[in-house]
Homo-oligomer: 502 residues x 2
């Protein structure tokens, strides 16, 4: 018997596809790419992910990266501008108890902390109609997945390294000159986790009590614990002496102490003073299960603690504010640089609300004529409740007065790619047609009284990929999977190599 | 309201115990202290662990550490001594098909690789009857948990750091002078994972084909994947260009190529030449589901690949060999240093087999008179089938001829400690009486023709803790939990602090 190994330079799978899938799952489980199983907090399952990075346009990615610090500043300034916030929110306040309550809370609280900490995530899709990146939404509260997105990149690197013969992976830095290469795949590096931790630590230092702690407010039976714990670990790695606590709003009703003289807040069990309140809960009404929970939010808001985010910053993330910003001369008020404001404006999809009697009929007609050209989005976080196509027509015919609860957004037509989606319980989707949504993370630590920017940074990215046959998004809801990007010149190669296997 | 924090130097819990348990579980899930759930390989659950390190005697630990390299050499030499192996195994060969088959396979295979790689784990308990460490067993195949034991130490450090006020943890190095301290806890560091990887890499380099790969032989539906993947990751970190494959015996029946001219073995899919075969399967008959699987084992054994372990090394780990070594002047043949051989001998519990007609009746009488003083252990890996107390008497009365399948070992009476055991699905055991079993990992890379020792090292340890009301062991079987050690002077403090909470 004579055994010969083919020796040519072209890429090909080294393992059969089922071994690659098995390896990928073992990697995911070993490296904490996990979420808990509902109803059993001692068991975890893999967070859905793609088997290899999706091809993407380097220039478009670089573009949204380049405008993020201006976007950070824009949203920071909007959150501080009560006049604009009120104007933008006013049509929604009478319709939406939750927004109304947040708004009133904000108006009743006196600011006692000039340091503001924000961790943003700005979500985009590439619109092939105009070959431009279009903003989907701007998240100002609980910007998730910074702790997991880096694991997916590492997973992809391991798969390409082990699973594919003659595959060389290069990590491209955004500030490096892009050298075109036909043989090397480029995956962008991701510092979302590390720099989120650094922003928190900077804010902690500005609070100026090294014995104080960081409070994570979480939902009961939180499933996305690996994502959150990664942030805790990263803080611990950089600054081991910062203590932290994880509490639900309901737990805090028994455990939070509010000192009306100093405006400090403490935790009863340890008497730890709270320097930073980091919200991974509080963005939907269900998180406040009773009035006491609302009282906790109020105590925190009017305390000296640094809030991530403040209520005003949370409100700035409402979709109605996003729609309001598309009006002329709004963003130009905050962004002095014409080029930057033009670039930011270029990411605005056409959006409209139905609160203005002068324009309402015009917009309804636009929807009637072209219902497939728009998406109706509720003015809420969470996803999963958008209206499309016939649903839009039905809403107009039967419940026209409900339109005010929605924002209409021009439908984005992102480019399609073919990939393999790995979901738990053996529900793989091999070689399916998909689209990508890109989130850019940004951090800000500012003194809102002096306008000093201690940190204004673009720190990393999130890629979520879903099949083209689903309208809905969301990794937690099972529609999307986590992914990363291949921006090399021949970035359709990987898809071809994996397809050969079938 | 005035809020004051008590400021004294004594240790106390910073979090309520339920928060500490919740934190510990989140940490375990995030850091891969996990095993798969039976029947769902996409879901994982926490590997049982203790909430804080168990108190232990530093001098006893240091003693077993100090003799491990001599132990490594002893077992390495025994594995190479066919005469001794045959003498020791001869009573079992007629009784045990599995041992017989391994023995015959070994005798029929010609050695074509002079490099031998061994990863051992030597398990002990402290016997309070004599205040000495006593060997429980010496593992030569599939020495598990090197990948997880370090995570437990990190978990304990995190719990002590975050969860306990005024708690300072110091990591003691075994070669450092031990400075007694009443305020600092000492936890021994663990390099079991890193140095296992280093031994594999050294063997790989000695095989001398950088394009070859490492083959992990695993069981179907392997649950302990995080432990195994940790080793792969560690190898990858140290030597990224080594490729590896994971296969079951059954998969190999289709995929292994054996070249009868060169005695090389390959994998069909990639034509990767196999430099090292690392067995995480093959230690019980059930792993060989058909004759083809046995043929695979034979091909590998007679190939040029470096086996971890060889069949001869696997056979040296049989309990009957362990019993045989307690006979006079056996170990002295391999260990020239009188002090070392005396020290090794001091770890031998009284053991006997029933194969010798001259002594059989005497030993049966010993058991009859004092059944509580002995344990009967089957001559097999795996655990869970020992006989105790009345079971021993029943066996003697009803099935005396079965005795030959067992080794009798004097019962060890380890010291008791109080700790908190965290098991999945909410089955915590808080403040229960427990005993500890300590495993010391050793690695060897040798040239068995020249006796050159490239590596002979003691690399780390495993601590398994179980309640005193269970006779059986095994983490995978749910009896034991992973643990680590506190060897500080006042090492009962932690137990007191955690008890105060109740």
């Amino acid at each position: 018997m004579s055994i010969k190994k083919e020796e040519n330079g072209s890429m090909r799978l080294r393992w059969p596809i089922e071994d690659i899938v098995a390896f990928a799952k073992r990697y995911a489980i070993t490296h904490g790419l996990l979420c808990l199983i509902p109803d059993n907090l001692d068991q975890a399952t893999i967070v859905p992910f793609s088997l290899y990075p999706s091809p993407y346009s380097y220039s478009h990615f670089k573009f949204i990266w380049s405008i993020q610090t201006a976007y950070n500043r824009l949203y920071n300034r909007i959150s501080l501008d009560d006049e604009i916030l009120e104007k933008a929110l006013s049509p929604v306040i009478p319709l939406d108890d939750f927004v109304e309550r947040l708004w009133k809370l904000h108006r009743n609280c006196k600011r006692r902390q000039s340091i503001q900490l924000d961790i943003y995530r700005n979500d985009y899709m590439l619109d092939t109609k105009v070959d431009k990146m279009r903003q989907i939404e701007f998240n100002t509260i609980s910007s998730a997945f910074a702790g997991l997105t880096g694991i997916v990149a590492d997973l992809h690197k391991a798969i390409l390294h082990y699973g594919i013969e003659n595959c060389h992976v290069r990590e491209l830095k955004l500030d490096e000159k892009y050298e075109k290469s036909s043989t090397i795949d480029l995956i962008l590096p991701n510092e979302a986790l590390k720099k989120s931790a650094e922003a928190m630590i900077k804010a902690f230092e500005l609070y100026n009590n090294e014995n104080a702690c960081i409070l994570f407010i979480i939902v009961p039976n939180e499933r996305n614990v690996c994502d959150q714990n990664a942030l805790i670990d990263e803080i611990q790695k950089l600054k081991p002496n910062i203590h932290f606590h994880l509490k639900t709003f309901e737990q805090l009703t028994n455990e939070l102490l509010y000192d009306e003289k100093t405006f400090n807040i403490y935790l009863k069990s340890s008497y730890d003073e709270i320097a930073i309140v980091y919200y991974r809960a509080g963005y939907i009404p269900d998180h406040y299960i009773n009035e006491k929970c609302w009282l906790i939010r109020e105590y925190i808001e009017q305390s000296r603690a640094i809030k991530c985010p403040t209520i005003r910053s949370q409100l700035a993330g409402c979709k109605i504010v996003q729609a309001y910003l598309t009006n002329e001369n709004i963003i130009e008020k905050y962004i002095n640089n014409k080029n930057l404001s033009k670039n930011i404006r270029s990411t605005f999809a056409s959006m409209f609300a139905f609160d203005n009697n002068q324009t309402r009929e015009k917009y309804i007609n636009l929807l009637r004529q072209n219902p497939n050209g728009y998406v109706l989005k509720p003015n809420r976080e969470g996803g999963g409740n958008n209206k499309y196509d016939d649903e839009i027509l039905k809403l107009i015919e039967n419940k026209e007065n409900h339109l005010n609860s929605y924002i209409a957004m021009e439908k984005i037509l992102p480019p399609k790619c073919t990939t393999c989606l790995i979901k738990p319980n053996g529900k793989h989707l091999l070689h399916v047609e998909c689209i990508n949504e890109i989130g850019i993370y940004g951090t800000m630590v500012t003194n809102v009284d002096t306008n000093e920017e201690y940190i204004n940074d673009v720190i990393g990215y999130l890629v979520r990929t879903k099949t083209t046959d689903t309208n809905e998004g969301g990794v937690a809801t099972g529609y999307s999977v986590l992914d990363c990007l291949d921006v090399s010149q021949n970035n359709n190669e990987l898809s071809k190599i994996f397809s050969q296997e079938l």
